[in-house]
């Protein structure tokens, strides 16, 4: 079993709720980013989520799972997604500082708590274009 802090995640599997337009938008945004770590996107209710996450998969908003089995949920998963992108890795790295960690958690909870409002905003905005077809 590798170290908890090891950067060798292989790839990250992002489990998100396909019924939530916000999650769909977030995954679309991630797909459009240049990535340092390959990402796979799967629904939280799907068979792989059930096989790998068990009961956790059912009620989770966002779960990121590394190939070696490390899993992050909620705000931590959100930070890990940012860490996987080339442009935002430095931002994600600042989360080691307690202040930034609190900021990231507050931001994530603000996002999930206001999903309905964000969904309306997203519906009226153009979808992000992937960099590669």
């Amino acid at each position: 079993m590798s170290d908890a802090r090891s950067p060798d995640v292989g790839g990250l599997t992002v489990f998100s709720d396909p019924a939530s337009p916000f999650c769909t938008w977030w995954c679309g945004w991630l797909r459009a980013q240049p990535l340092l770590v390959p990402l796979r996107f799967l629904p939280v209710g799907g068979p792989e989520a059930q096989a790998r996450l068990g009961v956790l998969g059912a009620g989770a908003e966002l779960v990121a799972v590394a190939d070696d089995g490390r899993a992050w949920t909620g705000a931590a998963a959100f930070v890990m997604c940012l860490w996987a992108t080339a442009r935002h890795r430095d931002l994600a790295t600042t989360v080691r500082l307690p202040v930034a960690r609190l900021g990231a958690e507050a931001f994530f909870h603000a996002l999930t708590a206001n999903r309905a409002i964000l969904t309306r905003l997203i519906d009226s905005a153009p979808a992000p274009q992937p960099s590669r077809p």
């Binding site: 079993m1 908890a4 802090r5 090891s6 950067p7 995640v9 292989g10 790839g11 599997t13 096989a51 790998r52 996450l53 068990g54 956790l56 799972v65 590394a66 190939d67 070696d68 089995g69 490390r70 899993a71 992050w72 949920t73 931590a76 930070v79 890990m80 860490w83 430095d90 994600a92 790295t93 600042t94 989360v95 080691r96 500082l97 960690r101």
Partner: protein
């Protein structure tokens, strides 16, 4: 009497600021090269900018501190001089340590750049 105090203050303030700036510049170079590994030009530029800011801030502060009433005698003149130099030095010291702390923070961040930023919440089966 006042003129002597002002001249002495001016000479000591400028001397101190330029000596400190040189010390910071010389020792900062090594430190900054470690903060920005492989980017020597950036490190040198940041070093120059930091020293420039340091000199501006401190000469400005020294100039602001200059204003003093006419001292009654020699003792009062020395006291006025000592008070201003003391204030100036303490300001310099505080700034210097804040600067070091910020750079040390940046350096600590850099050391952990090749690690995952958050600990996993749990372990599940490997893929």
């Amino acid at each position: 009497m006042l003129l002597v105090v002002y001249l002495a203050y001016g000479a000591i303030a400028i001397g101190l600021v330029s000596w400190l700036a040189r010390t910071l510049y010389a020792n900062g170079a090594l430190f900054l090269e470690e903060v920005f590994p492989g980017r020597e030009q950036l490190a040198a530029a940041v070093n120059r900018l930091l020293v420039t800011g340091f000199v501006m801030l401190n000469l400005g502060w020294a100039a602001l501190l200059l204003r003093a009433g006419e001292p009654a005698d020699g003792a009062a003149a020395v006291e006025a001089l000592a008070l201003r130099l003391g204030l100036l030095l303490i300001t310099l010291a505080v700034l210097h340590f804040v600067n070091l702390l910020v750079l040390a923070g940046v350096r600590a961040q850099q050391r952990h750049r090749h690690e995952v930023p958050v600990r996993p919440d749990l372990w599940v089966g490997a893929a």
